[in-house]
Symmetry: C2
Subunit: 140 residues, 2 copies
DNA sequence: ATTGTAAATCGTAATGATTATGAATTAGAA
DNA sequence: TTCTAATTCATAATCATTACGATTTACAAT
């Protein structure tokens, strides 16, 4: 997902273009990591001291609802990142050191459905945590 | 994991036998669902009005540390259940209706490691959510 | 059985993330 | 330029979790 597409979606759904939304979206464009509301607040407060909790949280939820961002829960906190472009279903490897994310195309769900013949599977979470190439070589 | 084994582990690690711990463990013995701290508190407060937050949370953490309970995060809350007996690695299907849990022996991690040759995989979360046999037939 | 002491509990307060509210401001259309 | 709904600001409320000091309790040693 790129910024241009994000604004299209917002406009199509009747959302206005504001400088706060622009700041938030820019932070996600610049990185492929998951960010928390606190991450955003800490950075954006420097340039925009008036930035409030409400603005961050409300917009993050809006962006997720519109499919601009995707979220996952890590250590009890909501984490956000740009929604992946890939049209095919996939999962993520998340580096716990630097926060970078890699797409993994393997998904075990076909195998799983036949193991649970009478269950209605509604969703699943499959995430792998560890250290990426760069971080695994660092001397901590 | 049964209660007897749980007490053994506690004793071996120098923890005392208290009526509060007994109440908590009994609640887990009676069910195969994940329970939150609030679930425990709500039930136990009836018979034991003095039961405090601290007691519940501290003991839950102790039990997890000792491998008596296992936990996962659902909807931003810590959920606990008896640690599975199964000695082999497995994952869970969790019914979002009644909370029951099924073991799933399939694990896709062997496939995954070769897709991430230079990464140090430290852990993974693979959970499937939906409705179990019983709940899928209920008219909501 | 009694006592001593570390562990556990109680009652409550603090913390941290998230959500909600009401007044003031602003984007964008008329 | 003006109007109005959307957005933001500032702050408070909520919810889960963790922490603290005083009191109580389990249990081992006497």
């Amino acid at each position: 997902m790129n910024i241009t597409r994000a604004w299209e979606i917002l406009k199509d759904n009747g959302y206005k273009k504001t400088d706060k939304r622009e700041l938030i979206l820019n932070m996600f464009e610049d990185t492929d990591k998951y960010l928390t509301a606190r991450d955003l607040l800490t950075v954006l407060k420097k340039d925009f001291p008036g930035m409030s909790f409400d603005t961050i949280y409300r917009n993050l939820s809006t962006f997720v609802d519109l499919g601009i961002l995707e979220e996952t829960e890590l250590n009890g906190e909501r984490n956000f990142r740009m929604h992946c472009e890939s049209e095919h279903h996939h999962h993520h490897f998340i580096c716990m050191e630097c926060g970078k994310v890699k797409e993994i195309s393997v998904c075990p769900m076909e195998m799983i459905q036949e193991k649970l013949p009478d269950c209605a599977i509604e969703s699943h979470k499959f995430e792998i945590y560890g250290k990426c190439q760069n971080c695994v070589h660092e001397t901590v």
